[in-house]
Symmetry: C2
Subunit: 301 residues, 2 copies
């Protein structure tokens, strides 16, 4: 029997839905803008994407969402900028689509994908940092996905990473969310005269020193955040994904330097985990949530 899953990754700006085989192979992709108007529009979109991608072999549907996702109940408690507090996504989508649905946080889903089929393969302890519109993390510890007592683990957007950084929407200064994310590249880029973050990365690739300085500032903040997380979790590898990671080593080289400097007793450690770019790119969230949905469906059978 050819089992399949549908994975939907609801991002800050775009939503990616995929049809996937159990080995992680994606056989179809649909990408649409993320509606941020209200819960009814979001649910209609999720139902429509599920209907357009499902086949008779579809065993499960996974939905990855930003913010506080209560995995045990499938309720989205809160996501910054989404007017969808306390939305029972799993129950409503299962009713509308008639298939088992698993709902989880997007960074956690991305971490699971990198662990199973991406840059984390072969390790038991990995940390994935998603530097996109926001800043989140997912971790696999001794082969288990870090979830927490309520499913809220990994909410590290407000970790303090840059004393000189921008003021965050939470009111404090230098949070990772605004200092070490893809948004931070846009923010610092605009101040330096670039239209957006992608323009910064393009210019930096051509050797533009102002653009390189922007990536150095953001990369240094990213490295300080990574050091705090490595100090706490001691992963074997740190994987950076999300839109900000498109700049690759132009961002990660200064991040590595900052992480090595900031890590507790870095010269006394037998080894420091490598800081690498995610290999699944924009597919990580959708792949991971589809894998988790298949795992859960198998466990519940």
């Amino acid at each position: 029997m050819a089992e399949e899953a549908v994975g939907i990754d609801v991002g800050g700006t775009k939503t990616l839905a995929v049809r996937m085989r159990p080995d992680g192979t994606i056989t179809q992709r649909v990408r649409v803008p993320t509606p941020r108007t209200g819960p009814a529009v979001l649910l209609t979109l999720l139902t429509r994407l599920t209907d357009s991608l499902r086949t008779p072999d579809t065993r499960a549907v996974g939905v990855a969402l930003p913010g506080l996702v209560e995995t045990t109940t499938g309720v989205l408690r809160h996501a910054p900028g989404f007017p969808c507090d306390d939305l029972p996504v799993r129950t409503l989508l299962e009713e509308a689509a008639g298939v088992p649905v698993h709902v989880d946080n997007d960074a956690r889903a991305a971490a699971w994908a990198e662990y199973r089929t991406g840059a984390g393969r072969g390790h038991r302890d990995i940390l994935v940092i998603t530097a996109g519109t926001g800043w989140g993390c997912g971790a696999v510890l001794d082969g288990q996905l870090l979830k927490g007592s309520q499913g809220f683990a990994g909410e590290v957007g407000h970790l303090h990473v840059d004393t000189e950084g921008p003021t965050c929407y939470c009111g404090r200064q230098g949070c990772a969310e605004v200092s070490a994310s893809g948004s931070a590249i846009s923010h610092h880029g605009k101040a330096a005269g670039y239209p957006d973050g992608e323009a910064v990365t393009r210019a930096a690739r051509d050797g533009d020193t102002r653009a390189l300085a922007v990536l150095h500032t953001v990369g240094t903040a990213l490295g300080h955040g990574a050091a705090a997380l490595v100090d706490l979790l001691d992963p074997a590898v740190v994987i950076v994904g999300g839109g900000g990671a498109d700049a690759d080593d132009l961002l990660l080289a200064p991040a590595r330097t900052a992480m090595h400097t900031a890590l507790t007793a870095s010269r006394r450690r037998p080894g420091i985990p490598p800081l690498v770019t995610a290999t699944l790119g924009n597919d990580a969230g959708a792949t991971g949530i589809a894998l988790l949905a298949l795992d859960r469906a198998a466990a519940c059978r």
Copy 2:
């Protein structure tokens, strides 16, 4: 057969050694100053304490140490202020004492003790913060002790918790180690005219406003650190131990307020983990390492 273990907790200033039954009951205690002169003196002390506490029923010896402890090999890689880098504690003590030895980090040992027999009983996910000479943490996640890929997890002493805080020995300002620890109470207390941290706590119990202000400052920093760790790990309960916790609610009340304010989306969470004082007090490290040593001896049999 009455199985017993010896647990030795090497602290920043004092070393506590206990004889313990498998249910956590302590039947004998020895407390001595911690030698900070060199590896030979430390090993002599560990051997002497083991010999004085062991009986024919002793099945295992556990040693809890501060800093980077490589649990797989039992090597102390580095502890701030200890001239004992890369010391193979397990091998050397096993040779000298002739019993199976387990070596681990002190905060991790304390967390295991609170999980098994203390304030964490009944929960699967707990966080223990040790606010003593330094600032460390140990976590149990889904019933498993957080160790990390090399056994270095929980090194959170340099988490940034107070923009106005003292300068740390690492060169940065506002690290938890100097802003939210027992040492922080001494530091701020001396600036306010008290001889030491214990004097601050005594005066605060009598309602002294200057002393209460010191505990408010340190408690607020502690709450900010706790918020960052709760955001990442989502424990069901946060337990504060170490010498600083002697001030109890005089320290923890401001810490709770700060944690609630700083926690991501705190108003959208169905519940915020309680912040409570550890119940095992100064016995936590020795109890936890003895329990871990017994577990390991049983698993290796």
